[in-house]
């Protein structure tokens, strides 16, 4: 990235208190998102990707807290802002779409009332003007018959339509950054394809940046330009989509790519990653992936590797990932 990034997360650490003990679930995470760029934050459950996303919007509530780090958005540290200032940013410059559209919409208000509320709060529109704009937004997210749908309640809509409504609300204020946390995970594949296509179109039209949180490598390959891979609260690898999929540098990334079944490869055995994700309260020492890693040696058990550059865009945190692929210990 040549320009100053739109979003610059630096050394973020988030802790939760569990049974009186502080558990670090995000540990020293740094990454950037450029203006207009789509970055995927990838990892399995418990890797800290959603907590990272929520930290950006200041949505971490006790017993959780951001213990350390900076989140610079257009040069301004969001962590230094008060709640009132943060509210002006949330929904305006940065918007978020969540996984489950049913739980993010209020069941007792019509779709139109909910979109209108966002328009009133953020753009000062009221009454007829807000309603007309809500209809326009529904049309923008390709909901058929928006004049009728705007008066319907969330339960009257299908899952795919609800997610379109969420996107319409997120776009109400033309955000510069859209954070989408597993936006298609609860949807069927054909609906997922519709929503991903819609996000692509809207991004091209509005020029917004997208931070896509997902566990699905297929979705990553479809939408992202750059990828940040997280494991057990840390970034283990970062690179362009081509680098991550063609020359994965971290054994975890490589393992994930190998373990996904692919269409057309037929019946057969897969190559899973052995073991399971560690408990954040009992993180392994050294490299956190070492108990599951085929390459792990003494050093991996003792010392935690840091992210080291492999190319201008590619960084890997692994003792075995030298500047050139497979060149062994640096």
């Amino acid at each position: 990235m040549l320009l100053e990034p739109l979003l610059d997360v630096r050394d973020l650490q988030v802790q939760f208190t569990r049974h009186g003990q502080a558990v670090t679930v995000v540990d020293g995470v740094s990454f950037q998102v450029g203006a207009g760029e789509t970055v995927a934050l990838v990892g399995e459950s418990g890797c800290g990707k959603s907590v990272t996303a929520r930290s950006i919007l200041g949505l971490i509530r006790p017993p959780g807290r951001v213990a350390r780090g900076q989140i610079l958005f257009a040069g301004q540290d969001l962590l230094s802002l008060g709640e009132a200032e943060m509210r002006r940013i949330r929904g305006n410059a940065i918007a978020m779409v969540f996984q489950e559209p049913m739980t993010s919409l209020n069941p007792v208000y019509t779709v139109g009332q909910q979109i209108a509320e966002a328009l009133r709060l953020h753009r000062g529109l009221t009454g007829r003007r807000a309603l007309a704009e809500a209809v326009e937004l529904l049309r923008k997210v390709q909901i058929a018959d928006p004049e009728r749908r705007v008066h319907e309640y969330p339960h009257q809509l299908s899952g795919g339509m609800r997610q379109r409504v969420m996107i319409a609300m997120a776009l109400a204020c033309r955000p510069r950054l859209l954070i989408a946390d597993e936006p298609t995970t609860a949807l069927d594949v054909t609906v997922q394809a519709q929503i991903l296509e819609l996000l692509r179109q809207l991004q091209a039209e509005f020029g917004m940046a997208v931070l896509m949180i997902t566990h699905d490598l297929g979705v990553v390959a479809e939408v992202a330009q750059r990828v940040v891979v997280m494991y057990a609260g840390k970034v283990v690898e970062e690179g362009t989509v081509a680098e991550i999929f063609r020359q994965p540098g971290h054994p975890y990334t490589a393992g994930l790519l190998q373990s996904v079944p692919r269409l057309g490869q037929g019946k057969g055995r897969l190559r899973p990653i052995p073991g399971t994700v560690p408990d954040p309260a009992a993180m392994p020492g050294g490299c956190r992936f070492h108990p599951r890693c085929p390459l792990a040696d003494e050093r991996c058990r003792r010392e935690a590797p840091t992210l080291e550059p492999r190319s201008e865009t590619h960084r890997v945190a692994c003792w075995w990932a030298g500047p050139a692929a497979g060149s062994g210990v640096a």
């Binding site: 299908s158 054909t190 297929g218 399971t276």
Partner: protein
Amino acid sequence: MDGNLQPILQVRDVKKHFPAGRRRPPVKAVDGVSFDVYPGETMGLVGESGCGKSTLARLIVRLLAPSAGTIRFAGQDVTRARGARLRQLRRDMQMVFQDPYSSLNPRLTVRDIVGEPLLVHGLARGRELERQVGELLEAVGLRAGHARRFPHEFSGGQRQRIVIARALALRPRLVVCDEPVSALDVSVQAQILNLLQDLQQRFGLTYIFIAHDLAVVQNVSDRIGVMYLGRLVELAPAQALFESPLHPYTRALISAVPVPDPEAAARRERIVLRGELPSPARPPAGCRFHTRCPLAVDRCRTEVPTWREVEPGHWVACHLAGEGEAAGKGVSAAVPVAATAR
């Protein structure tokens, strides 16, 4: 499948209609489905939410009774079995559910969970039960020592192993797996898929494998059936289904699966389906897919397509299938890459 092999399961024109209250049409969750399953094979069933695949699974293992049609297991009518015959059927057919968190009783130890079927059917108790539970746990990649623990002490993948051990306790011949890996992380999903294949070899199991994820289904299946709104629209050997799908819905489904390969993702043409899934209480007349089909012609709106074998083992319900270009290459060309939701 061999032509002379007898099917282990025969499903014939099975329907399940759920009443939806007075003055409301019933929900036709499954509405006329027929297929055979052969011993030792894995028959995959795919389809999106509401297509009836889970209802069909429950009909097969007789957790539900069909509204019409017959289901025969090893020649015996499942739907009318009672008493001793029903008990034997319950041993022969087992089910693995999606959510390993809600399908295990949190108050029971793993020993009680896995041993319960043996106890209920009077097959083992005391030390013999202990021994068999230990063997089952080892068969699914756990340790005999895990028997004393409770479900909450295990991860999602390990819990699904416990569920599988319980399903295997009675030495079933047919195991119906309903979304067995969709609640699991990618790396763990692969472990369970491999385990299921190993166990199939070792115990000579027949599987019906239901999932919404085509890549997963294809990884384990010999043959695959595609369901849409309560009906099978296509059924074919797995390879044929992916290499030469005949039904426009199958094509759309395949093209919608995100591919974990950025170059392939950029290259391929995507068929984005229009509109919303119709209600199974009021399915469209004619071909049920016609409201969303990019190829639909007048005939599709009025006439229900017959379920026919276009090539040996390749079944499809589409008026246009097999008519060369019309249903063949034409599909992707005829559909705009990003159709709008109308």
